[in-house]
């Protein structure tokens, strides 16, 4: 499968995606997300502070998952430069910014990835990497990454849609499950995911279809039991995440006719408690070209921050802390049920 962009799909355009979300909402008479927040007394939505700096270092990826909200893939070329990374490091050094969260695509494919981690680790901040697992087996260039992660105490967050091959491969591509298990075993052998090792390995679960993630703790227990029994694999926590109705997941919702029901479900499941903890409130997202966004989803929908601080080179924590978060109908994905964030359920 190619990315939407490489296929020349209309959905590669963020405007088109927003238009579809608006049209479906109007057709079904769904309230706007902003109105829903107003009802809950949470509008305008403001940050609690920039604690986490999330860098999307590029859209290049060795996989082309069906649900990818980035529209990443081997055919994408957008890559964060070393200069932009340097600017991000200056921002990261700001007191109060505690964590660097590196994502992509497959962030490890950025030629300056290791340099970024080394520099960030000198700042003594927490470093997280969103690793798709199969990249660790994608060739000599990447084979020693687990040791590199361990050396810098990088927290590894890896997507594994299900503890069985069929559903995982259906979402992420043929053979992904077996390679993911091999990568997890490698990480375990270094201490990742083993209690008290100090090396954290968290897994991300997201539903393989047009339904929501159920209780995170039950799923975590099931994943732990099944992966240990069948593959002798261990991990720390499971983050249950909702699929956002954008990009390639939006494409599949449109193809299988589930778009109306899915949006309706997200709106019906709106949870004001989850809304108070959405990740845009403590995270700032940086695009490959240094542009700033409230979150990775807003980034993919091209909803750039406007005003005095719109680039990472202009980073100013106090101005950013008091900004107004940009919202659209996809935000219902973060507030449905137990809520969804980069760290799983919110409530």
């Amino acid at each position: 499968m190619k990315s939407l962009l490489a296929r020349g799909s209309e959905l590669a355009s963020s405007k088109e995606q927003l238009k579809i979300l608006t049209e479906v909402s109007e057709k079904l008479a769904l309230p706007s997300f902003s109105d829903k927040l107003k009802e809950a007394g949470l509008y305008p939505l403001r940050p609690t502070g920039v604690d986490i700096l999330q860098l999307n270092v590029g859209k290049l990826c060795n996989q082309t998952c069906k649900h990818c909200h980035v529209d990443a893939g081997p055919d994408r070329r957008e890559t964060m430069s070393k200069e932009t990374m340097q600017e991000c490091l200056v921002a990261l050094a700001t007191p109060g910014v505690t964590t660097l969260d590196i994502t992509g695509g497959a962030p490890e494919m950025n030629p300056n990835f290791r340099w970024l981690v080394e520099e960030a680790s000198k700042l003594r901040k927490k470093i997280m990497i969103r690793c798709n697992l199969t990249i660790l087996l994608a060739g000599e260039k990447y084979r020693d990454l687990p040791e590199f992660f361990a050396e810098h105490k990088v927290e590894v967050v890896s997507s594994l849609p299900f503890f069985q091959k069929r559903r995982t491969d259906a979402q992420r591509g043929e053979g992904v499950f077996d390679r993911s298990i091999e990568a997890l075993k490698k990480l375990n052998s270094l201490g990742y995911g083993i209690p008290d090792s100090g090396l954290v390995l968290n897994l991300v679960y997201n539903p393989v279809g047009a339904f929501l993630a159920g209780g995170q703790s039950t799923l975590e227990n099931d994943f732990k039991k099944e992966l240990k029994q069948a593959y002798d694999v261990q991990f720390n926590s499971l983050f249950a995440i909702t699929n956002m109705p954008i990009s390639r997941f939006l494409e599949s919702l449109l193809e299988n006719g589930n778009i109306d029901a899915y949006l309706e479900k997200l709106v019906t499941a709106f949870n004001p408690v989850a809304a108070t903890g959405v990740m845009c409130r403590n995270t700032l997202s940086v695009g490959w070209d240094g542009s700033l966004y409230d979150c990775d989803f807003n980034q993919m929908l091209d909803m750039k921050l406007e005003g005095k601080v719109s680039k990472i080179s202009e980073f100013n924590k106090s101005i950013l802390d008091s900004r107004e978060i940009l919202l659209h109908q996809h935000c219902y994905g973060c507030t449905a049920g137990a809520g969804s964030s980069c760290a799983g359920s919110i409530t």
Partner: protein, 113 residues
Amino acid sequence: MAQETTYYKPEDLKKFGNIGEFEPDLAKKFFDYYGAVFADGALSAKEKSLIALAVAHVVQCPYCIDAYTTDTLEKGATEEQMWEAIHVGAAIRSGSTLVHSVQALNKVKELGV
């Protein structure tokens, strides 16, 4: 198209809450009871959902089949678990049909055959 020509309409499931329109007190009692039944207890909510999926098939309620297929998936059930549950329902249904044949047997004997 097909759904317009059948008695059961998937969108009617969303109107389930409206059954209280004419008898709100009893409906409230039912929904409170329903919620309590499906909460985590000695059985987990996931186990209860699998039981509900089996029963939905036995009583052949299209609404419940839709609802509990989704619900079991949401609770992380595997296809193996879902279909084993459905087979349990099927086995009870066929077993209960066959066990009634004892009555037929009794009657045959009673009639002196």
